[in-house]
Amino acid sequence: MILLLILMSACHKEDKNPVVNPSEKLALDSLVATNKHIVTWEEIQVRAYARGENLNFEWYTNHGSMIAVDSATVLYWACPSCEGLNIIECTVSNDYGSISDTIMIQVDPENGL
């Protein structure tokens, strides 16, 4: 009986927990790539969906090349020496702090080579 009461009490507490919304001051909701499985030289765009004011974007990849399309979007491609499972990381920051997310891109050899 005591155990049942404790369990009921616990369930009741969980129901009362407020839903935590991502901060409206700074949030990085997702990184979305037009394709996550590509061959060498194939170009894709990766876009960061972020919220907040005065956002600053920094992009990094361990293998491959990127150039900025706009601050929230990069164009990515990989040369033959960058074949493999590569990581693209985006860090978004403003006066409230910074937040990062990563996306994995698989780069395979081009056909014929």
Binding site: W59, L75, C79, P80
Partner: protein, 311 residues
């Protein structure tokens, strides 16, 4: 005789201009700066060198192939070095350089024309041991060991986007190297032959998500020098370079890495006055075999000014 030798260099150079060569990679140029002889005790050598290198053709094995996106890659690099003869048998040297640019030009239609970075390269420290008595224009045997410390820039970015590793001024890796150099007179005092072997080992880079190990690098050159007069000397080397395959995280082999190269290396030194010398050299690829598909070097030229003084 000197003019014939110079003519021979020019003919070799002419035939080699379209040849393949080494690929652009992160960090300082590899191998020797062109001066391999030893310094007498208490002699200082101050040197500055300017190097331009262009890579524009992709190769698969030993033939050229088409590749999109990147049109060409080049760099302009200046180094300064100081060397000192500590003992009769021991020299020490230090070198650091700066990349004015490391550039990849992209095909038309991209959002940018080029990706460009620049900055401080790696610091090289070297000790040379001269076990055989050294007098210029006679036999020399020099063994040396050195270290390259990645003090330079490795996180350059453009518009918030980190530039590719191959364009970073620093290699990001601690490297150790060893070399042996031998020169001896041949037939006549003004002729000499030399031989130089260089080996470099790189440790594994672990920078954030970037885990990478450059393969071992080996270079061997053999050549002849002709001292035309007190001011002018000409040197012609044939070089062979080998690099194994690199590795990335989880010991994965990078298939498009590693190569066998044969290059020709003409070099002219002019002794100006009061210990000042001017040296011009080139690395011109004759033959290359690359693993996978890689961007290849078309040529590299270097101009050096140095002074030797005794305190």
């Amino acid at each position: 005789m000197g003019y014939k030798f110079l003519l021979l260099i020019m003919i070799f150079a002419l035939f080699s201009l379209n040849g393949p060569g080494q690929c652009c990679s992160a960090g300082n140029p590899l191998g020797s700066n062109g001066i391999n002889d030893g310094l007498p005790v208490k002699e200082w050598q101050f040197l500055t060198s300017y190097k331009h290198s262009l890579s524009k053709n992709y190769f698969h094995k030993d033939h050229q192939v088409e590749a999109p996106v990147v049109e060409k890659s080049y760099y302009d690099y200046q180094s300064i070095s100081v060397a000192y003869g500590i003992l009769k048998w021991l020299n020490a040297s230090a070198e650091i350089g700066y990349f004015y640019n490391k550039t990849q030009e992209l095909e038309p239609g991209q959002t940018m024309d080029q990706i460009r970075a620049g900055g401080l390269g790696d610091l090289a420290l070297n000790l040379r041991v001269l076990p055989v008595k050294t007098l210029r224009r006679t036999s020399q045997f020099i063994a040396s060991g050195g270290i390259r410390i990645p003090v330079g820039a490795f996180e350059k970015e453009i518009d918030g986007v980190t530039v590719p590793v191959s364009l970073q001024p620093s290699s990001g890796a601690l490297k150790i190297n060893t070399s042996v150099y031998y020169s001896m007179p041949l037939f006549r005092p003004e002729f000499s032959m030399n031989s130089f072997a260089f080996y470099e080992y790189s440790n594994t880079i672990e920078e954030g998500y970037f885990i990478y190990k450059y393969a071992d690098f080996f270079q061997y050159s053999i050549g002849g020098q002709y001292v035309y007069n007190k001011r002018l000397s000409i040197l012609l080397n044939m070089k062979y370079e080998f690099r194994g395959k690199d590795h990335r995280e989880n010991e994965a082999v990078v298939e498009s890495s590693g190569s066998h190269l044969v290059l020709i290396n003409p070099q002219v030194t002019y002794n100006i006055k009061r210990g000042w010398s001017l040296m011009v050299l080139a690395d011109l690829p004759l033959y290359k075999y690359v693993n996978g598909k890689q961007l290849t070097n078309s040529y590299a030229v270097q101009c050096s000014l140095y002074k030797r003084i005794t305190f």
